[in-house]
Symmetry: C2
Subunit: 388 residues, 2 copies
């Protein structure tokens, strides 16, 4: 096991009809900015429930945070924070709204040019104070509700932003709030959670028993509930399991003391920025190809994944790994997610642009060992075109 | 899945030779009371490393916290806190020292009679402020390093004490600090961790995929590393896995959103208080009998436990459950832990006294459904005498 630090102070409030507890969770007398995305939280009444639960507190709203939240949009929210002297931020939405709200929290307290906050990569941003924030989760996927990071889009790039100051103080996870989601968003969330898990698990073995078993448990749970929760959004237990797995997959727990490989996410971000493909779909496209091309580097863990997650024990190593990759692809497809880059209209002549974007964003030594060079990324993308 | 709250702000610092980081973890200028147990932390040099890492801070020491820490001992530490105007408590030891330090932290800030803090059962104690505390773990077992509870002994009883104020601010988990432990203490710790896990898992099914799989992962990891870490205390990976599993088994994670059954611990506490049997050994004695007598109530989860933890899939339900119970007992025995009450010199005529003590301490409706009456406890104890 590798050495690690683990710290996660977010309070989770999980269950049906718990929005009313906002009144005890948000400081008395706080002036609250409620941030959200499109109209669905208005349409389905969530926004009204939220403002009603906040009772006599002064509430300002800021809607229109788009998927892959933009720096320029978020800076408008920062202006509102300053003009209205906001004390507390409440994100009501999915990963984009929560990530964006974290950025607003950090940028509001930052003295310098907020664009600098996008240039810190995987290092914490140099911010000394941030506005406290809470979240109400309406889309299970990113785990943003229980971690301190976000991804912000700017000038055709996606930039990670981290700070120990941006853990939500609390997150309300009511699975019933997710029941009205379109199936494609739920499917994207399942894939995102799945890939968060394997990027912290399918690396190289370091004898981390708890972490490995817990990652496998998340994957097995997703496989169990994936199709079920799509078929019946009102199946509370299935949806609750998805919601809790999404949170647990990226709150630091399964990544503590093990190597991590964020190749899939980093290449995926470029595909979203360049072609507008949904984040979850970029991951479903890339992961089978990454494993196929990197069998040697990941052999031990791929075999463990094959056996423990898919129960594959027959055949030689090569065929067990191939079968595990095939089952993974089939799982994504069973959720209605296409798994070839060509399915999204991307053609071979575009791959060079993606590789250039990776280089421009410094993504030149990806993976758990830093050996995914732009040339390896190119091979991955070429393979992902047709998945073969 | 049941509704739940999850909150755990303890910072974990895990790995070799990390004691030096005490200097950044403990507030500058704090006057520190270092609490410990017997002489082993002195003998093996841990205490000296701790005080050296605290650098120029004023340090007062308080040794002699016994296993099953006594109220009377801890109140002496409270006197030291007051007389010396201590700002920060540092527990260096195992569960007893950590539990005791939590009590010192709470009692130091309590205006009333501190004995009242023992009478709150599973409710938080009515304390408004507490001294901050950190821990350096030398014995993996109780999980006290990452939760807010403790168990305090007083007048032949053992009393749980909880408060959201008594989460350690940080805990340093250096598996190498545990290498000098006597094997019997390591074995006790493995059993304690195992039982913490099953008391939150072998109850009745509520479709909690993540929690069940994570509990199963802890159990499987303990089974994998148990004998290995006893045989070779310097096997770092084995010991690291034990240490992390002990923390994860009782930090709220696997118990969130599922029923909990603390029958084994509650009856076990009486056996320790009355006969001085090590805590871990009381659990090993009771668990097989509790499962044997409560097969009906726990059938679904016992079958799941048999299949997923022990790989038992052949035979009818009854025989699968019996085999799982037998394998559990054999596992404890493989660690050198005897699993019959008679092995510890307890005779049938003493059972009545244990049942009376349970009644006196209000333990009259134990289990996940409250149906373990004193009469059921009596049958459990009678069965546990000879394990049949």
């Amino acid at each position: 096991m590798l050495d690690f630090d683990f710290y996660n102070p977010t309070r989770i409030v999980f269950g049906k009809d718990r929005l009313v507890e906002l009144d005890t969770l948000v400081p008395k007398g706080a002036k609250v900015l409620v941030l959200y995305g499109g109209g669905s939280v208005e349409r389905f009444g969530t926004l009204e429930k939220v403002t009603s639960a906040l009772k006599e507190r002064e509430v300002v709203t800021f809607g229109g945070i788009e998927p892959n939240p933009k720096y320029t949009t978020l800076m408008k929210a920062v202006e509102v924070v300053k003009a209205e002297k906001i004390d507390f931020l409440l994100a009501v939405g999915g990963g984009s709204v929560m990530d964006g709200t974290k950025f607003v929290s950090l940028a509001s307290g930052f003295e310098g040019n907020p664009e600098e906050l996008l240039a810190c990569g995987f290092n914490p941003v140099p911010v000394e104070k941030a506005l406290p924030l809470g979240t109400v989760v309406t889309l299970p996927a990113t785990g943003s509700e229980m971690n301190s990071g976000g991804v912000i889009s700017h000038n055709k790039g996606k930039f990670p932003v981290f700070s120990p100051l941006s853990f939500p103080v609390f997150s309300i996870l009511d699975p019933t709030l997710t029941a009205t989601l379109p199936p494609t968003q739920v499917a994207n969330g399942i894939v995102d959670t799945f890939i968060h898990t394997v990027e912290q698990y399918v690396t190289y073995p370091v004898s981390a028993g708890f972490q490995d078993r817990t990652a496998e448990g998340i994957l097995q749970t997703l496989i169990e509930v994936g199709e079920k929760t799509l078929a019946d959004p009102d199946d509370y237990d299935a949806r609750a399991n998805l919601v809790w797995c999404a949170t647990m997959a990226l709150n630091g727990l399964i990544g503590a003391g093990v190597p991590q490989d964020w190749t899939t996410h980093m290449i995926g971000h470029e595909l979203t920025a360049m072609f507008g493909i949904d984040h979850g779909k970029t991951l479903a496209v890339l992961q089978p190809s990454i494993w196929t091309l990197r069998k040697e580097q990941k052999r031990g863990k791929l075999l463990q994944y094959a056996e423990r997650v898919w129960g594959i024990t027959e055949g030689d190593e090569e065929s067990r790994i191939d079968e595990a990759i095939g089952r993974t692809r089939a799982f994504f497809e069973s959720l209605g997610i296409r798994t070839r880059l060509s399915d999204y209209g991307v053609t071979e002549d575009k791959i060079d642009d993606v590789v250039k974007a990776l280089e421009a964003h410094g993504m030149v030594a990806l993976s758990e060992t830093g050996d995914v060079t732009p040339e390896v990324s190119r091979r991955i993308l070429a393979h992902a075109l047709h998945g073969a």
